[in-house]
Amino acid sequence: MSKTMMKLVVAMLVGALLATACAPAATPVPTAAVPPTSAPAQPTTLPTAAPTAVKEPIRIGISGIFSGSESIQGQETKQAATMAEEDINAAGGILGRPLEIYYADNACDPAQGATSVDELIDVDKVAAIIGDFCSGVTLTTMPIIQSAGIVQLEVNGTDKSISAQSGVGGNIWQFRLNLDDGLMAQYFSKTIAQEVKSIVIVTSNDDYGHSAAQAFTTDLTQDGVKILSTEYYTYGQADYRPMITKIQAENPGGLLNVADFPDAAILATQMKEMGVTNLKIYGRGTVVTKDFEDLVKDPTIWDGAKEVNRWAPQGSDLEKRYQAMWGVPIDIPAVLPYYAIFVLAQAITNAGTDNRAAIREALTKLHMNIPDLGPVSFDDHNQAHTDMFITQLQNGKVVTLQRIPTSQ
């Protein structure tokens, strides 16, 4: 290997490092940057101050999945957060100060999660954190945020132990906005029990899939539905045929698919291919969604499938603007971070300061209504109780059948 070649290589490397250091983080280019024609629909009115000279920004950090195979979520999170940042700043910011969002990648890995949260706390010096999207990561960072004395608002992780360990008698700094899966399973099981007598659960081979399957198994059995078998798939699995043949042989009345739309789409398409179409389909994840329809392209596939979720498309302004800005329909991985930022913004406004402890105080006392989600207020385990939605695929469209409040 000649010396000149070596020098060339080293030069390229240094160049590449500099390029990434200086270039902005890769963000998808909005297809049509449409500025909101009217004031963006906000859950509550934030006190607007006349824009003054550059003021000390208010920093909120997001620890999310920005790399690796699950980075679709991170992409949607970033898109949503960028929109929220713009919306809030367009209305004058928080307490008259501009909002700045900081991102740190946890790659859904506990060790990287710990350092990502540390970075947000120590280096970026944020006032509050939204994170961490993966339950395993959140559980790891809970002691960290506790000893640092900073709020962390979970928007995606569904593990029961997060809220079990939060609030009264536990970690008072951890809060959760996304609705508890256990509650949704309880309600949905009753819906399912009214329609079928036997079911097969097809769920993902990770913590989300396992805990959802567990919850549904208990509830469905209690409601008199026989679970014929539980099948597991890996994210991105291509071939469902052996599984489908097995399901066909078991001949259940219904199928519960705990999945996000990419995997649901493949399962659904292959079931149609194999002619296994006489089951009632239930989803838990992002099955009954526009994204699913966009992938599957055939409105007859899984027509009539029902799903329970924390949000459903309601033709709101947010949905239109997101579609216009990013060229894809908004979905739950984007909706919850978007509103989480507003929740924190409201808490900061109520507290009158971005002091970390004051934000925590304000969150515990928060009573807010977000039209798309429901009432936001945290119980004594720091868990919010927004509304539940039952949706159905009707001829290629997502239709909301029921909206159920869960706060009592």
């Binding site: 699950e70 597991y232 045929r241 291919e273 392209k297």
Partner: protein, 295 residues
């Protein structure tokens, strides 16, 4: 389940396995060629398949070119991409120790995999074709025309490959190089040229596989890794670098996986390949076809 129903069930799973196995075989055959002729373990093989899938998606899904020309274009594109890859990654490591080859191609795999995520996003893409959306039902067992196409084309391809390797000069040269590199060089065979051609054929096979298989599944950036691992498991069992061995082992793997899912359950799906491989290695340390060298 009644005994007849159970037998039918087994038969259906076996056929599922055959279909999956033929797809594996098409993907693995190229790797067997690379390993056999170039003596290079290419850990980026699965990622090249992923690239082929995306190329097909761009040509067929985005540009809207009809299926047959799109498939041919995909194959051509992959041959080109394969030539470039051979030059940048493979050629420098031919002749180095195989650990160096492993790490070099692993590095390439990481770069390609994450490059795809970075540039294309993690969102999977689907490309249903007319053939994949319509099908036949045989005694209540449904399969699309695309699957039948896959089996037919795969069979024809292997026939052609066999004829190529045994009847043409280039094919014989490839086999000669795989059996004894120095001797082949000694009789005047252009090793570098053969290496390039082999890799291009291997990439062409990948392109063909991508065009055939993507319509029934989907394509997304991280799909390559597990494919590569299973491909190596198959190669290990079939006898490293033996094309026929690889094909047989691939089909066997497909059938084993399908039966295991049907009878046992799906949580260990990816593990079956490796458990089967470990078991096979315990009895046949050099692969089920023994130590004979050459493709």
């Amino acid at each position: 389940m009644t005994p007849t129903a159970f037998l039918v069930f087994l038969l259906e799973e076996a056929i599922n396995g055959l279909m999956a196995g033929s797809m594996y075989a098409l993907i693995v055959a190229g790797l067997a060629l690379t390993v056999g002729v170039l003596r290079v373990v290419n850990f980026a093989h699965g990622d090249l398949f992923m690239v082929g899938g995306f190329v097909f998606y761009f040509i067929f899904g985005l540009l809207g070119i009809p299926y047959l020309p799109a498939a041919l274009l995909t194959i051509l594109a992959m041959v080109g991409i394969g030539a470039i890859f051979e030059r940048i990654v493979i050629r420098p490591v031919v002749g180095k120790t195989w650990e160096v080859q492993l790490v070099a191609t692993l590095a390439a795999s990481t770069a390609i995999n994450n490059g795809a995520i970075w540039l294309l996003g993690s969102m999977p893409k689907m490309t249903p074709t007319l053939l994949s959306s319509t099908g036949v039902k045989v005694f209540g067992f449904g399969l699309s025309w695309q699957r039948i196409l896959i089996i037919v084309v795969t069979g024809l391809t292997f026939l052609c490959l066999h004829l190529f390797l045994t009847r043409t000069r280039t094919g014989k040269a490839m086999r000669a190089v795989s059996q004894n590199r120095e001797a082949a060089e000694g009789v005047g065979i252009d090793i570098k040229g053969i290496a390039l051609i082999t890799f291009m054929i291997s990439s062409g096979l990948i392109g063909l596989a991508a065009a055939l298989v993507t319509p029934v599944f989907s394509v997304f950036p991280s799909m390559g890794t597990m494919l590569t691992l299973k491909a190596f498991a198959v190669l290990t069992v079939g006898g490293f670098g033996r094309v026929n061995g690889a094909i047989v082992a691939a089909i066997a793997l497909g059938i084993v996986e399908a039966l295991a899912i049907g009878l046992i359950g799906s949580s260990f799906t990816d593990g079956f390949a490796f458990i089967a491989m470990i078991v096979a290695l315990l009895f046949f340390p050099y692969g089920i076809f023994g130590k004979r060298v050459g493709i």
